[in-house]
């Protein structure tokens, strides 16, 4: 067997020693067509609201993995006259799911080397981060892991439930004459809000 401790030398999906995780995460996400911004706890709600406004979203679902921050965000969005629902309350209502303009989720982890966010069936649900044209994901920076190998080591302890998904930038296809089209069955816009703090605050 080859030595896997140096996987980073072979695989671009790992972080090199001393490479800055946050910088790499943001660069890879951008390369994949997503966007991100770092905020402090006091700026979180404002950033989410501004993103949704820029996307022209109106009907918004919030997923359970936002934890204690969910009611706070919900209240702020309602004050700003958004139509806000909990994703778990409407997940079985297909018409309601179809009508969503955006979803706001948390995440279980984020992978620095690939610019991926990781959601679980227990939190964002299988489709909470997927169904709406705009997805805003709140990533606490403490949840950043270096690369795929670290994520896979951690995976059994993340409590993802029946599904764990890595999601990297918007949905895309190049099926028609190799032309890259963004936004097929998943979101067209993916914006990650990197929170220097803890969501439960």
């Amino acid at each position: 067997m080859s030595d896997r401790t140096q996987l980073w030398r072979m695989a671009p999906t790992e972080l090199a020693p001393h490479e800055d995780a946050l910088t790499r995460f943001q660069a890879e996400l951008e390369r994949a067509g997503g966007s991100s911004v770092s905020v402090g706890p006091g700026e979180l709600v404002g950033e989410i609201t501004a993103t949704l406004a820029a996307a022209g979203a109106h009907r918004i679902a919030l997923t359970a993995d936002l934890g204690d921050a969910r009611p706070v965000i919900a209240q702020a969005l309602e004050i700003a006259r958004y139509d806000v629902v909990d994703y778990d309350a409407i997940a079985d209502d297909r018409a309601a799911v179809r009508d969503l303009d955006a979803t706001v989720t948390g995440c279980l982890a984020a992978v620095a080397a690939t610019g991926s966010i990781v959601t679980g069936a227990t939190g964002a649900g299988r489709a909470g981060a997927l169904v709406a044209p705009t997805h805003v994901c709140v990533v606490e920076t403490r949840r950043l892991v270096d690369g795929l190998a670290s994520l896979m080591r951690l995976a059994p302890r993340l409590g993802a439930g029946s599904m764990m998904a890595l999601q990297t930038g918007p949905s895309r296809t190049a099926d028609i004459e190799k032309t890259l089209i963004v936004g097929v069955h998943g979101p067209k816009r993916v914006h990650v809000v990197l929170l220097d703090g803890v969501l439960a605050d």
């Binding site: 896997r4 997940a91 190998a149 029946s162 949905s171 190049a174 099926d175």
Partner: protein
Amino acid sequence: MSEDPLTSSTFAERARVQLAKPFLREAVPRATDIAVRDLRERFAGHDYDGLRELGREIRARTMADLEDALATLTDALVANGIHVHHAADAAAAREHIRRICRESDATRVVKVKSMATEEIALNPALVADGLEVTETDLGEYVVQLDGDRPSHIIAPIIHKTRAEVRETLSRVAGRELPDDASELTDFARERLRDAFMDADVGISGANFGVAETGTIVLVTNEGNGRMCTSMPRIHIALMGIERVIPTLEDLSVMLPLITGAGTGQLITSYVSMLSGPRGEGEPDGPEAMHVVLLDNGRRALLGTEYQEVLHCIRCGACQNVCPVYRQVGGHAYGWVYGGPIGAVLTPLFLGTEAGGELPQASSLCGACDDICPVKIPLHDLLLQLRRTRVDDGAAPWRERLAAELWAWAWSSPRRYRVVTRIGGGVVRVMAAAGLMSSLGPLGRWARGRTIPTPARRPFHSRGERDV
């Protein structure tokens, strides 16, 4: 099903049809070049060969005791509340899936692109049962609407122009859609969204099955894999038994290999790791999950000189670099798998009667060996298949006679000199008289190329420098 192209035509005939399509010969090289270029870019500064070797080791170790890995996988799947079904062949796999659909009173099925479901010709069987089946990968959707076949493992409509796609989707729309890839995609998205929401059953393949955790892994870019395994109340995954990998740690090696070799991406937009039906307290997901483990000729390859073909992770990279595939596309190969991997898999899965010609349809350049993310020695496997065909007496008599005559003449320096002197004269005379087309293989050479005229004084007769 339509007539089987493999048995009703030859590779040469199918290739001729494809060669006559100018778009194909422009589009396939362009698209495959992009994939290869992106692969090189993504791995710049990294040791792709080292990672390929890790991938090869994982696959070889798993195949060395496949039954053990499958037993572990099965136990873990069952422990996760997943129903596991074993299918010895295509018919058995179809029957399992039909039964599951029947027993769950399904009427609508959505599908994720899957080579395994193509291999067992699943869709016609489901349609015959009265089910409404919708392919949800954009390319596969177009293929389905056209009654066509995918022509590349991961880029199913690589052979179609935007104009053709527009025509197809406009027919479905009942109006002229704009000639714009983005708007065509938007139209398909809306149509398929209805299909997802209304479907009872979602059927997928499996890029990997992780034995230790009982997890089915799906790798997609469009997000249809996620939708098909989130919205319908039943999820069925059809997995070739060789797609098992032992651990999650192995997955961290296999993922960059499959996405890098497949599309040149660091990682695809979506990687779904499915470990059961919707759990307690989860907001969405299917109420039941089934995994159908497909043998269909795979076990028979264990312990043979062809075992390494089971390492294949269906990334399509060998098609991207194959100089033959780049000219003729996937349809020329006549079955589900095209390119070098198809030329090896088809005779092994379907038998030499149907697929025996395909290993000949290679110039043996070896480009596939150099790119394969799990280092399958495709070049050697093609040679072995050719050899077996000859050893089994399956080569046509003309070929056997030619080999005999050649070996007789070439195995004695004296005969070699006499025969080539006479032959050289004949060729020179025939060429001068414009009669080359009547000279069998030389005539076929003469289609498009001038015959190299044998020298009047071959090197061996330039005696003054004799030693």
